[in-house]
């Protein structure tokens, strides 16, 4: 009975170890793929998706990392292929300026409103 317990414990530890090592190897890929939009399954990141497109993308990212490319280079590479839409972090340009500036404007506007209310009282 005691032996059986030890064996079971060992098996459990072994299973955990394996899980841990699996997570370790693909951590960098996870980091990058979380910032990528899965283009054929909208609303999901490449990290979340199990579609063929996303699975291939993860392999490709791993390959690029193995080649010694850094995050920035991989994003640039994918942007050149699929356009800016693939990254979740929009650049500041003519098309996205409103996206970046609008919250600021709203914040300032809201601040003015609050200040006015307070000063009236």
């Amino acid at each position: 009975m005691k032996k059986l317990k030890i064996i079971i414990k060992l098996i459990i530890i072994f299973l955990f170890l394996q899980n841990y090592s699996l997570a370790e190897t693909s951590q960098e890929v996870d980091e990058i793929s979380k910032n990528l939009r899965c283009l054929i399954c909208q609303g999901q990141s490449v990290y979340d998706s199990q579609s063929d497109f996303a699975l291939s993308m993860k392999i490709l990212i791993q390959n690029k990392i193995d080649e010694g490319k850094n995050d920035e280079q991989i994003y640039e590479y994918l942007k050149a292929k699929y356009g800016e839409w693939i990254v979740y972090d929009p650049e500041i340009n003519k098309k996205t300026i409103l996206l970046w500036v609008l919250p600021l404007i709203l914040f300032v506007f809201g601040g003015i409103l609050i200040l006015r209310k307070v000063s009236i009282k």
Binding site: F53, I59, Y82, G83, W85, I86
Partner: protein, 174 residues
């Protein structure tokens, strides 16, 4: 007066939102990127379907004319539909048609071709789907018309070829 104004602005805002959303319903949600990089780096290796040799895609695009790169798989139903168009294009004898066999079992792929005919001049395999990403592809089927000399994409078609896409291709080829 101010009550009326509030009511009117709420109604107007609701109507405004309603029509915006209504219009949004019609909009296609298939996203296709404007190809920024019309020139593709074809400098990657892939294995032939019918032999064990590997080849650079560059070497397959070496004559003066145009090439059609078609991504397909035997498990892909729309690929069956578009196959007739590919055979048709082959019979024109003007295009170098290159097939990329996407994430497929080689046996099934060969059976697919013996069943429906083989329109391809060369077929390379893409078991992991990486080569297709090099081309900027989304999945299967997908076709690229390429000018061999400049290596520029002349026409890109996502999804199975249909009458409209076929007519477009023919127009460019001739």
């Amino acid at each position: 007066m101010s009550k009326n104004f509030k009511l009117i602005s709420i109604v107007l805002f609701t109507l405004f939102s309603f029509f915006i959303l209504l219009k949004g319903l019609d909009k296609s949600n298939i996203y296709s990127p404007e190809i920024e990089q019309r020139k593709i780096n074809f400098n990657f290796k892939a294995k032939y379907l019918f032999s064990e040799e590997e080849v650079f895609i560059n070497e397959l695009l070496n004559n003066d004319g145009m090439s059609l790169i078609n991504i397909w798989a035997s498990w892909c139903l729309p690929c069956r539909d578009e196959h007739a168009y590919l055979l048709n294009l082959k019979s024109l004898n003007k295009l170098n048609i290159i097939g990329i066999n996407y994430k497929d079992d080689e046996k099934n792929a060969k059976q697919f071709l013996s069943e429906l005919g083989n329109p391809y001049t060369n077929i390379i395999t893409d078991p992991k789907g990486i080569n297709s990403i090099e081309l900027g592809a989304f999945g299967v089927p997908e076709s690229y018309l390429i000018d061999n000399k400049s290596k520029l994409i002349l026409q890109k078609h996502i999804g199975p070829l249909d009458d409209k896409a076929f007519a477009k291709l023919i127009k460019i080829i001739q």
